[in-house]
Amino acid sequence: MLLFIFIALASSLRIQKNFFISNIERTVQLTDRYVYIKSKINFQNDGVIPIEKIYYTIHSALSDKLYHVNIEESNAKKVIEDMDVKYKQNATVYEFTLQKSIEPSANLEVELNEYYYKRFKPMPKEIGVEDEQLVQFMDSVYFFTPYFVQNQITYYETQKIISYTLKSATQRNQLLEFGPYQDIKAYSTQIHTIHLENNTPMTVFTKASKIVEVSHWGNILIEENYSIENQGAKLKGEFGRVNFNKYNPNIGKHSLKQLSASLPYDSWGVYYRDEIGNISTSNAAKGKLNGENQALIQLRPRFAIFGGWRSNFTLGYNLPTKKYLEQDGNNFRLTLNFSFSVKEMVSDSYNFQISLPEGAYDIKVDLPLQVERNDTLLFSYFDTVGRPTIILDKTTTSQFDNKQIIITYKFSGISILREPLMIFGTFLFAFLLIIYLRRLDLQTLKLKE
């Protein structure tokens, strides 16, 4: 009995018998900077209980490279601790709660999206400016899952295939087809590698941060700092400005020449700079993106970032409080996006810092994400007791983490006048002092002229 309880506690992952994957079709996109795997999974419930939760397992070798995973048919995701899977299979388990349970003897097709970064290994490790970038991609032939898989087929989309280790695969131009494979046991793995051409710059933000300062005088100041690194094949030999020039866009495709960012439509006073001043190569326009009004910014780094090179930059802008700060008496509600605004990039670590006006109290943060939170005080212009500041830290962060976070706090109306009154008082005092000193006659001895 006791043993049974132990087992029940240790293993919350309970796979029903007769619940299996009848068919899975995976499409692995290897054409971009990051790897995107789209899987259409057909679940079959031949058991007697309706299934509400399905499990996704990720091997520890890949878990820190997975920056986002979701299932279209589910809107609740959480990581669960499962000792059995953790130690036997060396994997982490995600639990997805389905919107609609799978009834006995019914089936459901779900769409699983996996996003990975840092999965390409440059091979050769060093290339010249004019060379193509070749990379190695390592994957398991079988879908790593706690379920029995009846039928699996996998497609690899690439720019160009050089070679692959699994000889049974069939190649159609840029497409590799693996399978179909039948009756695969749970947690089956078999490693294979593909050597392919991928000329997109393998850039990653090694560090990103966003600093927000809220002023009740009507402005929200946002500054984002980025450290970028190209982790693709390193540049070999000479740089060669003759070959790599602005008139020849096809040379050095593996170097990062441009990034784009989207800011809120009502942002203003945008700046783009680094430690030594403005970077004068950027364009900004207000327009529509995905049906949403946005300010689109094209950022070009000071120099094209080749493999092994690094750079850093700062992007800053202002927002009016009108739209992002709601007031109800003394209660305030601030709505902000969590993630940074440069698109199509993943950051290894991310730091988000929000400073509320001096005198704000009773602060509550509503976080849709798992992050580490620290609070501190920031001393900025004319601060005496410091602004309450919330610091949120997260590892691997991407656009998928761009969820709205809501901060509610209390702030009395008089506090807003404190700093102006302070300045006013100081000047008043100074002028009075000067007037007094001017009228003071310190001459004790009157000399005859």
Binding site: G277, R302, G308, R310, F382
Partner: protein, 745 residues
């Protein structure tokens, strides 16, 4: 009601009365507006470009200020900078005028204490404009001391506030010593004149303090320590000396010299350097004469004559002997720059490194006119006014102007010292003319108030005169505005061009390359470049350089010059000995940017040849001229500078209708094509090729065994330049006096 009362009630009289009543308010308002204008006109550079540190030397000052703010004043005092002058390093604390950095450090600390967390960069960028406002206030005070008239003061303040010469050194971002020291200069003169007028010891103390600030901030303090003795001497000779002058000079000299010695960079030079000799001599003289006139009260007339004769002979003889002994013993010395001031051809003959700097050249008429504009026409009027009815202060103003004109003619850079003098004189002159005209107009409108006089300019002519003078003044203002917004607004590290549609394009090659160095080289890599770019590389790239704009060690600069002028193989040997990892050259052949290294190359050859005689200037002349085309000599085309600048240049087309490899600056097709580099590789080239960075390759296997350079092993280092003497005390003072030269630009 009498008729007189009636006229008093009429409109012109009312206006006149109320204007007189409100005059002090007008005065203050105008002065305040001038101060604000002087700030605003200098902010054009930030508006047109950005809030950035300009040019060359400001980058060092900025870096030092950052260090000061971060580490504190004592750390700066002891700062031994290992990032420059590799492998020698530089003792910054003892070789810097700390006034500028201390000023911005103080502003920074005070603001931070008041919880205004301003960025130190912005303090540095906006320091010069703020001080220019102070300068205009000081100029107002000084003019008022000279003429006792506010209107002259106001005009002078306006002229100083916008004089292009001063603006060239004090636009926002031009964070240089001159930015604060021109204020210190004018303020010292103002306090000195105040002392002269009042004879107050308190004001004398203020003079000494202002002088102390000047010494702390700029080597140009030598001008003050010479002009005041000259002024006093002039008064002594012309018999205008009095007790007020004695008080003023003695307080200034004693306190000023003591305070000057507190600056580590000056130290005991305040006693024994030649620049200070005049002040010592005049101090002795003035007190001796005082003593003499005191003695005269006690002895008979006959004895006086003998005594006078004896004392004069004794004094002259002892001073002469003293100077000769000191000079022969090497205790006192003229610095290279001071000698250049006394003998304008000196540097050209003996010190190429001073002559190579364009701001040490003799001033041309065009730069005189561009930098001072109509002021050079107005100031003689002021000079006439001063000589017409001389007082002590007027004599001082006139002397200052005349000496300033001499120094400004010798060196372009010293136009800066002349600018306040000319502005003040012009202000005095114009206001004098205005006053004459205004008086005649006033006597026409208000006949009762003005006293009748024999002769007065007819009012019609007065009005014409007023209009013409006003027109010229406004032309001057417009010119100053142009100079501030266009000519002097460029930070020089950011270039801009206009395309055919009139769009403004920013050419940001310098920062592109400097930032590449900062991000993509190892932190301890050493960069070799010509000394002009040293400060910028340490400032923007945060990397170690061999030589920089502080040209304290001529041998080291000559070594870099030799490396640039040597063949690739020899240069490799030199670079390896100096631990050079990257070589940076500036190349303008694509963009027609003429201030590049190929154009400066002859100076490298000259300076290198000055120490290493195997480098001869003639070897770099092809067919008698300096050229890069097919007639260039082999020495020229083999030199590292040529090889690096033109590496793979023959593969690009730069101009329509010209073959590949056409250099747009030299207007010639390069002479050597299709060569490869053996020991260096192109690490980075900026978008428009302005900055090219080459990496020194590692020596190939067995390379050192098989290869020994003939020419590098042949040359011998002359003894006086041998590295051992570099740190000896005697050599150090010599080097000190050649410190702080400006760039080649």
């Amino acid at each position: 009601m009498s008729s007189e009362e009636e006229t008093q009630q009429s409109l012109p009289y009312k206006v006149h009365k109320s204007t007189l009543k409100w005059a002090p308010v007008f005065n203050m308002t105008i002065l305040l507006s001038i101060a604000i204008i002087s700030c605003l006109i200098r902010v054009f550079s930030v508006i047109r470009y950005e809030s950035i540190i300009h040019e060359f030397d400001p980058w060092f000052n900025y870096r030092t200020t950052q260090y000061l703010v971060k580490e504190g004043p004592y750390a700066l005092w002891n700062w031994y900078d290992s990032e420059s002058w590799y492998p020698l390093g530089r003792s910054v604390g003892g070789t810097v005028y700390p006034g500028l950095m201390m000023t911005s450090g103080m502003i920074y600390w005070v603001l931070h204490k008041l919880s205004i967390p301003i960025d130190i960069r912005n303090v540095c960028v906006f320091l010069a404009p703020i001080f220019s406002a102070f300068t205009s206030l000081a100029a107002y005070g000084m003019t008022k001391e000279i003429t006792k008239r506010s209107e002259a003061g106001l005009l002078s303040a306006l002229f100083v506030a916008i004089v292009p010469s001063y603006m060239s050194r004090s636009v926002a971002g031009s964070y240089d010593n001159e930015g604060v020291s021109i204020f210190a200069l004018v303020f010292t003169f103002y306090t000195f004149l105040k002392t002269v007028n009042t004879g107050s010891i308190l004001w004398g103390v203020y003079t000494a303090l202002a002088f102390f600030y000047m010494v702390a901030s700029w080597g140009g303090y030598a001008f003050i320590i010479n002009i005041i003795p000259i002024f006093v001497l002039f008064l002594l000779i012309t018999g205008r000396s009095n007790s007020r002058i004695q008080v003023a000079y003695n307080v200034f000299y004693i306190l000023g010299t003591l305070l000057a010695m507190q600056i580590p960079f000056v130290g005991f030079q305040a006693l024994h350097s030649s620049e200070h000799m005049a002040s010592h001599a005049v101090f002795i003289l003035i007190n001796f004469l005082n003593f003499f006139s005191w003695i005269r009260n006690f002895v008979s007339k006959k004895a006086i004559i003998t005594l006078t004769k004896f004392l004069i002979v004794f004094l002259v003889f002892s001073i002469l002997v003293g100077v000769v002994i000191l000079t022969l013993a090497g205790k006192t010395q003229w610095s290279g720059r001071s000698l250049t001031l006394l003998d304008p051809t000196y540097a050209k003959k003996y010190i190429p490194i001073i002559a190579s700097v364009s701001e040490h050249q003799a001033t041309t008429w065009s730069s005189f006119f561009f930098d001072l504009h109509y002021l050079i026409l107005f100031s003689p009027v002021g000079l006439y006014y001063c000589y017409n009815k001389p007082t002590e202060t007027k004599i001082f103003g006139a002397l200052y102007t005349v000496l300033g004109v001499y120094f400004a003619s010798v060196m372009v850079r010293l136009l800066l010292v002349l600018a306040p003098a000319v502005s003040i004189m012009a202000g005095i002159g114009i206001s004098w003319a205005f006053r004459k005209f205004a008086k005649s107009v006033r006597s026409f409108i208000l006949p009762k108030i003005e006293k009748p006089k024999k002769y007065r300019i007819p009012p019609e002519i007065s009005i014409i005169g007023l209009v013409i003078l006003g027109y010229y003044c406004s032309i001057y203002v417009l010119h100053a505005n142009f100079a501030g917004s266009e000519a002097y607004a460029s930070p020089s590290i950011i270039l801009s061009s206009r395309d055919r549609q009139g769009n403004r394009n920013i050419i940001d090659d310098y920062r592109e390359a400097y930032y590449w160095l900062r991000m993509n080289t190892r932190p301890d890599d050493k960069i070799m470049s010509w000394w002009d770019y040293g400060y910028q590389i340490t400032g923007m790239s945060n990397r170690t350089v061999l030589v920089d704009n502080n040209t304290w060690n001529n041998t080291h600069i000559a070594t870099v010059g030799m490396a640039m002028a040597s063949s690739e193989e020899d240069a490799f040997e030199i670079c390896e000995k100096l631990d050079v990892d990257y070589v940076l050259v500036i190349f303008g052949g694509i963009l027609n940017y003429s201030g590049d290294d190929i154009n400066k190359f002859l100076w490298m050859v000259r300076i290198g040849g000055g120490v290493y005689p195997h480098i001869k200037e003639e070897d770099y002349y092809g067919k008698g001229t300096y050229r890069v085309d097919q007639y260039a000599t082999e020495t020229m085309t083999n030199s590292l500078m040529y090889r690096l600048s033109y590496y793979r240049f023959d593969e690009v087309q730069t101009a329509y209708g010209q073959p590949k490899g056409y250099d747009t600056v030299r207007q010639a097709v390069i002479g050597v094509k299709g060569y490869k580099l053996r020991h260096f590789e192109e690490a980075f080239t900026s978008e428009n090729w302005i900055v090219r960075i080459f990496k020194r390759k590692q020596r190939e296997n067995r390379d050192g065994v098989a290869f020994t350079s003939k020419s590098t092993s042949q040359f011998t280092i002359p003894k006086e330049f041998s590295p051992v003497t570099k740190f000896s005390k005697k050599a150090n003072t010599k080097q000190r006096s050649t410190l702080n030269f400006q760039n080649n630009e």
